[in-house]
Amino acid sequence: MDSVLVGLTLGGLYGLVALAFVLTFQTTRTLNFALGEFITAGGFLFLAIVALDVPAWLAVALAVVLIGLLGTVVERTVVRPFNSGPHDIRWLLTTAGLSLIMLDLLRNSQGSGTKALNGIGFDGFTSIAGTKVSTQFLLILVVAIGVTLALTWFTMRTTLGTIFRAVAEDRETASLMGLNPGLVALGAYAIAMTIAAAAGIMYSSEVGLSISTGQGLLVAGFAAAILGGLDSIPGALAGGIIYGVATVVATDWLGTAVGGVIGLVVTVIVLAVRPQGLLGRVVMEKV
């Protein structure tokens, strides 16, 4: 039971990262393989801004917004020119290349040590039904649930959200209706990278920040995203929670070797049975 609760809170973190994947995939059918570095960069940007004597809360806001803006730049320069249709997956390689570049830049400029993020986040533990869970991770879970609800509401109930869905459904027709898929793509990347940076800052304020922080979350995040179906917002959180719970439970019962891979094994099995993921939709290829 303890491990289920711990897994749940960890699942919130994975769910947030998965959301960042899902948002861009839904609208543009692309993923940012450099997402891990965006997570890490969010943390380092926060540190850099705090170093200028900016209050911590403002530094968080500035860091996530700037990383969001960086997301739009990446969409426009590294993703969009390399995405000409469903059979074109050059964007995958360019963003993977970007990941190498950003990681290398971070390593050379920030060093490979672990740094603490002070002044934000909660310390200590909260007791739930007799189990102590980290307050910070609980916060992350709450944020993840909040963001999932907000995004679901946004896409379902607002005009802008309807535009997002229209573009997600059929880019070409949407643009014939006078919608601008380019703007939607920029928006999706901005929101997604903002979420990634926020997740990175919240996570590293608890466990510390190093250049490999993001990479550690990347795999869990996108395994969670495919588990959920890659184009379902609630699916991202569901996938994250399944991944988190499976990992922690398996680690407690069967050791770190099994725990480290169980989430990925579950993902592979789910995909073998249900290629569209748990909450995804089937899209048929046409001749």
């Binding site: 390689l93 570049i101 290398d104």
Partner: protein
């Protein structure tokens, strides 16, 4: 056997031998200078070994990512499995080393097959992600598993009393790894031999019907299944093969280093393998060779260091790119400036140069395929179609080849086909007409198994129940089709496109292809011969070497027809073959169709061009809103009230003659 086929076989054989000789020469050049064990050449031998390992892994990856279009970010995982399993088999099982090697490759291939269970149903980015997840998982396993020594490596002193594997021996000769100054690294001979073998096997697979089927899969799975390829099985096969190549590379690495560390097999290994494939030219035979050589030379040269120092001096001494970042930059630059890689770019330059040298042959141009004067009845092509298609003789006169009964199909409650029946007889042309949206193409898709049949729908082909068969099984029953818009493999020559139509009928086994048995060369020559013949029959043999995507529309239709004919079908389905053709091309098409039917082939012709239908159709069925509203001959069609109503609307003016229309 015709003389040309024998000449073709000989030239194929000569090329195979030439490639083998060159590969051996290159391997010898790479290995021999280091064999003496001169301390100065140890690092050279190590580099050559690393290149050989990367080359074998990249070749396998090219089959998967380049040819089949399944971009895998997990090839490193299979290298790891091959390396660890072979080390384990050598150390713990006491098996003879060749057996250990086979066990390791088998383990790697098996892992690939298991992964393909999940990955073969996916496409594009999902494949990349699932393979990446797999690579991360495998790396974690080797980091965590006690039996592989975790971070201490394998083998290690605390568990095995040694940190180095015993070198393998052949007939008492010890094949030492390139680790110790003064000892001849004889294992380089083994590694070189394995690399040459692997490369030859890779080439045998890539340049074969099997390799062409991978390209077909990459272009369009549905089209691939219509030329007899079972997409899921073929994807599983290519995953397994790519993994086996990875495993082979791993066993070579074990031999070279005699000790394994999990950090050699991080995600970076997978990423750099895919970078090598892209940089060299993915889907090009020599792409991986070029990519591996260029990238590894760059990494080992002083050029990288020079660039790093330049940045530090001129830009910033903290914000600069070192090896890894520069590799990432190189990947992006390659995709921007050389999308088909170095090998692809070179090939294009070569084509352009050749085109400039021989201007006449290469211009496929926009000129019409046929002059009007030339169009009228030319009996020669008809005769040759007759000969070409006469593979399967012995038709009963006008026997029923295909029969549909009670076919009903709904898309999410919308009835697209409603209780249709249709039968097509050998040696006749049955036209299927109807207004747009009547369900004609849906019906064709139901016949060829694109959509599963619903309810009591039943399809019989040549007397056998074909209900519920997949397109590749329908193909084996002798059915071929063309598509509403031509679906060709654009990067491939017209000739290769046509050959793709009969590849699945050749019956080449995988093993025969891998070893390139003489039979394979014979079938290949025959297939080429036949494809060439079909192109000649349709009057387009001069375009045989032109990439299909560069041909004008009318010629693409002809190539697609040739591809359909290549499989020697009993039943040919043509979905609007005259769409987009000019009148003279349409006329020629009609003549060709009649000639094909005269050889006993049953043709289902979905067509809007009424002049063509009236001219060639023996039977006509008219559909409206999914249902059959007319069946009979072409003359009756023009008189039928319901057909006229369907096309012109109720209350139309009856067309009796020019005078009445104005009334």
């Amino acid at each position: 056997m015709p003389d040309t086929t024998i000449t073709l076989r000989r030239s194929l054989l000569r090329k195979d031998i030439l490639v083998l000789v060159i590969a051996l020469a290159v391997a010898a050049f790479a290995i021999v200078p280091g064999l003496g064990g001169d301390p100065l050449t140890i690092s050279r031998s190590q580099s050559m070994g690393a290149i050989a390992v990367a080359l074998v892994a990249a070749c396998g990856l090219n089959l998967l990512a380049g040819y089949a279009g399944l971009v895998s970010l997990g090839q490193g995982a299979f290298v790891a499995i091959g390396a660890y399993v072979s080390a384990w088999a050598l150390l713990e099982t006491g098996l003879p080393w060749p057996v250990s090697l086979v066990v390791a490759i088998g383990a790697s291939a098996a892992a690939g097959a298991v992964l393909s269970l999940a990955a073969a149903r996916l496409s594009g980015p999902q494949v990349a992600m699932i393979t990446l997840a797999f690579a991360v998982m495998v790396h974690r396993i080797f980091v965590e598993l006690e039996m592989f020594g975790r971070l201490a490596g394998y083998p290690n002193v605390s568990n095995h009393d040694t940190s180095l594997l015993e070198p393998v021996t052949i007939g008492g000769t010890v094949l030492e790894p390139p680790l110790f100054a003064g000892t001849g690294p004889l294992v380089m001979l083994l590694v070189g031999a394995l690399a040459v073998l692997s490369f030859v096997a890779y080439r045998n697979l890539a340049e074969s019907a099997w390799g062409r089927s991978l390209r077909a899969l990459a272009t369009n799975e549905i089209v691939a299944s219509h030329i007899g390829i079972n997409p899921r099985r073929r994807k599983t096969a290519v995953f397994t093969v790519a993994a086996a190549f990875g495993g082979m590379a791993g066993t070579m690495q074990t031999q070279l280093q005699a000790h394994l560390q999990p950090e050699s097999f991080t995600f970076t290994l997978s990423l750099s393998l895919i970078i090598m494939v892209i940089l060299g030219g993915s889907g090009r035979l020599y792409g991986p060779v070029v990519g591996v050589l260029v990238l590894m030379t760059l990494e080992h040269s002083h050029a990288m260091q020079g660039i790093v120092e330049f940045q530090q001096e001129n830009l910033s001494d903290t914000w600069f790119l070192s090896d890894e970042g520069l590799t990432g930059l190189l990947l992006i630059l390659t995709l921007v400036f050389l999308p088909s890689g170095l090998a692809g770019g070179a090939q294009q330059l070569w084509h352009r140069w050749r085109a400039a040298r021989t201007p006449a042959a290469a211009t496929s141009g926009d000129e019409p395929a046929l002059d009007i004067d030339e169009a009228p009845i030319d009996e020669a092509p008809i005769e040759s179609v007759r000969q070409q298609v006469q593979g399967s003789s012995e038709h009963h006169a006008h026997a029923e080849v295909m029969r549909l009964t009670g076919v009903t199909h709904s898309f999410a409650g919308l009835k697209a086909v409603d209780d249709m029946q249709l039968s097509v007889r050998s040696g006749t042309i049955h036209a299927l007409v109807g207004p747009n949206g009547a369900g004609k193409t849906t019906l064709v898709n139901l016949i060829t198994g694109v959509y599963p049949l619903q309810g009591a729908s039943r399809v019989e082909i040549r007397g056998a129940d074909a209900t519920g068969l997949a397109p590749h099984a329908i193909y084996q029953l002798g059915v071929a089709r063309t598509f509403q818009t031509p679906q060709l493999f654009h990067g491939e020559s017209a000739l290769v496109n046509v050959m793709a139509g009969l590849d699945a009928k050749l019956g080449e086994s995988f093993l025969a292809t891998l070893l390139r048995l003489p039979k394979v060369r014979r079938l290949e020559a025959q297939a080429r011969e036949r494809a060439m013949g079909l192109l000649g029959t349709l009057g387009i043999e001069e375009h045989a070497d032109v990439p299909a995507g560069e041909l004008p529309y009318g010629l693409q239709r002809s190539v697609e027809l040739a591809r359909a004919l290549a499989s020697d079908p009993e039943f040919l389905i043509l979905d609007e073959p005259a769409a987009g053709l000019n009148p003279s091309e349409t006329y020629q098409l009609g003549t060709t169709l009649e000639a094909i039917a005269a050889t006993g082939v049953a043709i289902l012709l979905v067509e809007h061009d009424m002049s063509l239908v009236i001219r060639v159709a023996d039977e006509v069925t008219c559909m409206e809103r999914g249902a059959r509203i007319y069946h009979g001959d072409a003359a009756g069609l023009q008189q039928d009230e319901r057909v006229l109503a369907a096309y012109l609307g109720a209350g139309h003016v009856t067309i009796e003659g020019k005078g009445n229309q104005n009334a």
